[in-house]
């Protein structure tokens, strides 16, 4: 049979003290005599007292839990972000509840409802790709629950968010390719209604321009960036522009597909065609040659998002008005074999 756990009132009875005194000791309230403190702690330890957080949460109206909604829990990026979130949340004494939207607007709405019902003290969201209606976030706002978007954001000035500077990442990657001596740089781009893909495309364009290289439509191909997409895109690019000497892809997966095609055509990487991708996947350093890629600082994004959320929660506590704050993380270009040309001696 399960042994009933000791409660505050159990301690109170055994020590002939009031529950409030016990509660005060347990919460490190200052105005308590050392003697009492000691007695209480000792008995607590002896009875293996475990606070009932549910009760405290009910009373205080806060659950000590943060909610997270991600499109999916698998996959390199979100897994690492979640790791960052977990770490900081736990450090700050919060539990974390994770929901997956499966890139589905309906799921996402349900997830938000679940988290609100669970009375979470704050919410972190990376918006599903299919979400077009954002009313569920209004409900969060109405309930005055602090919310921070990360990576995939709803762009309004009132919203707080942590994002990566995709534009800069792309700009750096392309600049690097140019510095390696490439001049006919192709781009495998993602869906342009997705803002991160658009920003990567703009970074590509601007880097070319900044280095006095003319933009050439024949060097650009858009797709959904699967490996197969990269494969097909590369075939097409080679047809349209056989003289290309580098590829910048909006993700690493499509770049792997592209690299296969290049090899099949007898082109050498990086000497005939230099390659740079985006997202620094696990496999990016397992290919041959290893892929140069823009790292997205995943864990840091998670950590930063929680810090921001805790900030908002503190503001909320003090009845300050919630101010939207956007934080942009700078990506890091990881230069590997696929783009490093030996300088012509």
């Amino acid at each position: 049979m399960a042994t009933r756990r000791a409660s505050i009132s159990d301690l109170a009875k055994q020590l002939n003290l009031s529950v409030s005194t016990i509660s005060r000791v347990l919460n490190n309230h200052p105005a308590i005599s050392d003697a009492t403190k000691k007695r209480v702690w000792e008995l607590a330890k002896q009875l293996n007292y475990q606070p009932n957080h549910l009760a405290a949460a009910l009373r205080k109206g806060r659950s000590n839990t943060l909610g997270v909604v991600v499109p999916h829990i698998d996959g390199h990026f979100f897994a690492l972000v979640l790791k960052g979130i977990e770490t900081i949340a736990n450090l700050a004494g919060f539990n974390v509840m994770i929901c997956q939207s499966n890139e589905n607007e309906g799921h996402e709405k349900k997830n938000i409802a679940t988290l609100l019902n669970a009375q979470v003290d704050g919410i972190l969201v990376s918006v599903s790709l299919t979400t077009r209606d954002f009313s569920h976030f209004d409900e969060v706002r109405r309930r005055n629950i602090p919310l921070v978007f990360f990576d995939r954001v709803v762009e309004t000035p009132e919203a707080s968010a942590v994002v990566l500077d995709d534009y800069q990442g792309a700009y750096q990657a392309v600049s690097h390719l140019i510095e390696q001596g490439c001049a006919r740089i192709a781009h495998l781009g993602g869906p342009q209604h997705v803002n991160i893909c658009q920003n990567r495309y703009r970074g590509y364009q601007d880097a070319l321009q900044a280095h006095g290289i003319a933009y050439d439509e024949a060097l650009v191909h858009f797709s959904n960036l699967s490996m197969q997409d990269g494969h097909d895109g590369m075939e097409q690019l080679l047809q349209q522009a056989p003289q290309l000497d580098a590829v910048f892809a909006a993700n690493d997966l499509s770049l792997v597909g592209a690299m296969q095609v290049l090899k099949q055509h007898g082109l050498r990487v990086p000497n005939n065609v230099a390659l740079a991708g985006f997202s620094n996947e696990l496999f990016s350093s397992l290919t041959e040659p290893k892929l140069t890629s823009v790292d997205q600082r995943c864990e840091e994004m998670g950590r930063t998002a929680v810090h921001l959320l805790l900030e908002l929660m503190a503001q909320n506590e003090n009845d300050e008005k919630l101010t939207g704050r956007q934080i942009t993380l700078q990506p890091e270009l990881l230069i590997r074999e696929s783009s490093e040309r030996v300088p012509a001696a």
Copy 2:
């Protein structure tokens, strides 16, 4: 300002009914007139009533939450298992709380304490590699909280667990290599104090024996299975046994390292040396050639573990004695390019 949410007693007042009646309606209690039911549901909808789960949990002593402890949240395997867990748990109306032990015994103990404090209704655990003392699980048992181990288990008959048949997976993979005409099959094995690694090693041995191939110590190399380990191991194996014609690795990562070495030595995969790995990582089908690998049925493991846990929870509800039950999942061998030899015409 935040609008206060409607409570049961709010509904009661507005309808001139008692709280108990409202509660009954909301919980689909049978003995309620249809008329009342209708009135209550309508007002509930109108006021957008949301039940306060915290309060219900406190009252009922159950939180409607399942706790999970995993070594880490990133990485292919656990991410997929978690996905499976999430899916079924949500379907069954449970929230999920995820904790990472970071392969650290101390963390794991803290995680369990956290979950017990959060009064989860059931716990799923994959044990950290460094855990030597298992007393924290005794505490769970004492509190009568159902617990299911998955993948990394504490082997006692009272414990419930879901595991993969690593032995069979290895056996199949090696048999497949033999069927491809290989006879000098090397093994890159993992730490033998880890039971899954040991089982894979045994599967390797028994498959050889079953096909009348003598075991040769010079063909076996143990390590921690990092990519570098695979690399180094392969170098050593080629020295010890240059005539080897296949490699079975206890994971895919080490196999990638090994494959690099083979290529450097001018050996062709699969025709000179055929390759099979274990775990079917994301990158396993991105390498060239694509790796044959044993798939671990990750999502299914998660789903199965939750089903088993729900079963135990039901038993618990009925005051039945908790019976330990072990479920073994059969892996699936995915045959890809790295092991498919074109039959000598």
